[in-house]
Amino acid sequence: MPLQAYLVLGALVFAIGLFGVLTRRNAVGILLGIELMLNAVNINLVAFARFRGDTTGLVFTMFTIAITVAEVAVGLAIVIDIFRVRRTIEADHLDLLRG
C-alpha cells in the first residue's frame, strides 16, 4: 500500500478524535477523543519512518506513547476528583471560568 493510504487513515482518525473532543459532553469521552488524535499522530510517525527508512519517527512514537499514558493517568485522576466534588462530569456544567 502506498504512503498516502496510511496518511489518509491518520487524518481520518485525527478528524474522528477532534470531532469527539468537540462534541462529547462527557469528560471521559473528551479524553478518549484526545487519545485518538494522539494515536493518529503515531500512525503518521510510524508511516513516515517506514517509508523513509529513518528510525527517528519510531523513537518519537515511543515518546508519544509514554506521554499519552501519563496524560491519561493524570486526566482520569482529575476527572475522578471533579466527579467527587461536583457529582458530575458533564462538560457543560463545568464552566467556573465563564466571563
Partner: protein, 612 residues
Amino acid sequence: MLIGSPALALLVLGLPAGSFLAIALLRPLRRHGHAAAAVSVAAIGTALAAAIATRLRAVGVAGAVNPAVTWSWLPGDGGPMATVGVLVDELSMSMLLLVTLISFLVQVYSYAYLHDETPPALGRYYAYQSLFVFSMLGLVLAPGFLQMFVFWELVGLCSYLLIGFWYEKPSAARAAVKAFWITKLGDVGFIAGIAMLWAATGTFDFWTLFGLADSGALATVAGLPTIMFLIYLGAVGKSAQFPLHVWLPDAMEGPTPVSALIHAATMVTAGVYMVARAFPLFALTPDVLVLIGWVGAFTALLAATMACVESDIKRVLAYSTVSQLGYMMAAAGAGDPHASVGHLLTHGIFKALLFLGAGVVIHAFHTNDMFRMGGLFGRLPWVGVAFLVATLALAGIPPFPGFFSKEAVLLAVLNGGFRVPFAMLLLTSFLTAFYMFRAVFLVFFARPLGHVDTHGVPVAMDGVCRLLAALTIVYGVVLALGGHHGEGPAWLPWVSMAVAGAGIALAWATYQRGLIDAARLASLLAPIDFLARRRYGIDALYGALYRVVLLGLSRVIGWVDRYLVDGVLNVLSASALRAGDALRRLQTGQPQDYVYGVALGVLLLLVWAHLR
C-alpha cells in the same frame, strides 16, 4: 558711624527663633498654652535686654566700614551668589530696640487679653508671635535684599496667621486671605526688582550696592528706575500705600494686641524701613522718589478722610496707621530717610499704645462701635490718660514725640520742594487731630450710652499701657532736649501746632459740646463724605476685579475642564468599559469552545495558505 556687636545681634535673633522652635516642636508645651506664653515672654524679654546691650555697647567707627557680618549661602560660579548675616548699624539697632520692646510689651499684654482662649489656642498664638518676632528681626538685620525678602515673606505669613487667629470667624479668615493676596501683589514687584538688580550687578548685598552707587557704576545700569520702582512696589504692599492700602483696615479682625504689634508698630513699617535701608539706591532715581513722595502724601490724606467717618475704633486707628505710613513715605520720597525713620520710631510707640488702649476700651464695652461708648475717663482714668498721651502724640502736640517727628517730616517735604504734598500733609495733620480727638471724646468723655464693664482690667494690660505712656513722654522729652531741628522756616512749628489745635477744637465743638452738628458738617462736605464712607470705591473696585477677572477666568477654565477635558476622558473610559463588556461573552469557561476556536483558526490558516 555706630556699629553694634554681631554676636549680640545674633543672640537677639536667635532667642525668638528658639522660643518658636520649642513651642512648635514640643507638643506638651504647645498644648499647655501658659507654659508656651512663659517661654515666649522670657525669650523676648531676654532679646530686649540683648538689644539694649547691643545699642549700649555699640562702638563708633570712623570712615565707611562695612558693618555687615555675612556667611556665604548660595554657592555660585566665582564666589557665593548670595550671603546671609547680620548688619548692625544705627538704623537696624533702632529698629531692633523698637521691635523687641513692642513685642515684649504686647506679649505680656496678650497673656491677659487672651485669658478666655483655650490653652492650645494660647500655645498657637505664642508660637506665631515668636515666629513673627524672629522674622521681623531677621528682616531688620538683613545685610542684603535676598535675606530681607525671605524674612519679608515670613512676616507676611505671620501676619496672615495672626489676622486669621480666630479662623472659625468667616470675616477673620477672609481678612487674612485678603491681607495675604494684596501684599503679595506688591511682593511680586519686589522680587522681580531684586532679580533684575541682581542680573545687572551680580549682588544682593546692600553694602556692595552702596559702593557701586558711590562709584557711579550703578547709575549707568540700564532700566534702574524700573528696578527701583518694582522694589518700591513691595513697600507699597507691605506699608499699605495707595492703592494697596485696602488690606490694613480689614486686618483689624485679628486680636487687638496683634494689631498693635504687627499692623501698627512693626510689620507695616517694614516697607518704610526697606526704603530707608536702600535709600542710597533710591537716591539715584529721582523720578521714583518723586513718585514715593506724592503717593505717600496722597495716601496720608486719603486714609485720614476715611478715618474721619469710621465708627469702629480699631478701624479708625488702622486708617490712622495708613495715614502715618504715608507721612513716613512722603519724607523718604522728599529725600530725608532720617525723618522717615524718626517718625517710624515715635509712631511705633504711640500707635502701639493707642491700640493697646483700644484693647482695654473694647474689653470694657464689649463693642468696637465708638458711638455706643462714652464716659470711660471717670471709670478708668489711667487708661484714659495713657490714651490721651498717645493721641496728643499722634495729633502732633509738643512735647509729645509725634510733634517732633511730624515736624521733621513736614520740614523734609517742604525742603524737598514738594509744595502740593506739603499742603496735603498739613491738611492731614488737621484731620488727624480731628479724628483722634473725635475718638477720645466719644469714648472717654461723652455721656455713657452702653453698658460699661470696668471691674478688673487685668494688671498686665493696665501696666503695659502706663509703661508705654511713660515711654512716650520720656521719648518726647528726649527729642525736645535733643533739639537737632533742621534748618527750616520759623513759622513751621507754629503752623503745625495751630493746625492740630484747630482739629482738636473742631472735634471738641462737634462731639463734646454739640456746638456743631456732625450731620450738618457731613452734608456740607457731601461728596467727600459720600466717597469716604464708601472708601472711595477702592474696596469695591478690588472686589469687582476679583469677581469679574479672577472668578470669570476660573469659570471659563472650570467649564473647559469639566466639559471638554473631562468629557473626552469620560467618553474614552466609557467606550473601554463597553468594549470589555462585549468581549466578556467570548470567555465561556467551556474548553471545548476554545478548541473550536483553535480548530477553526487552523482551518482558516490552511485555507489561506492554500489560496496564496
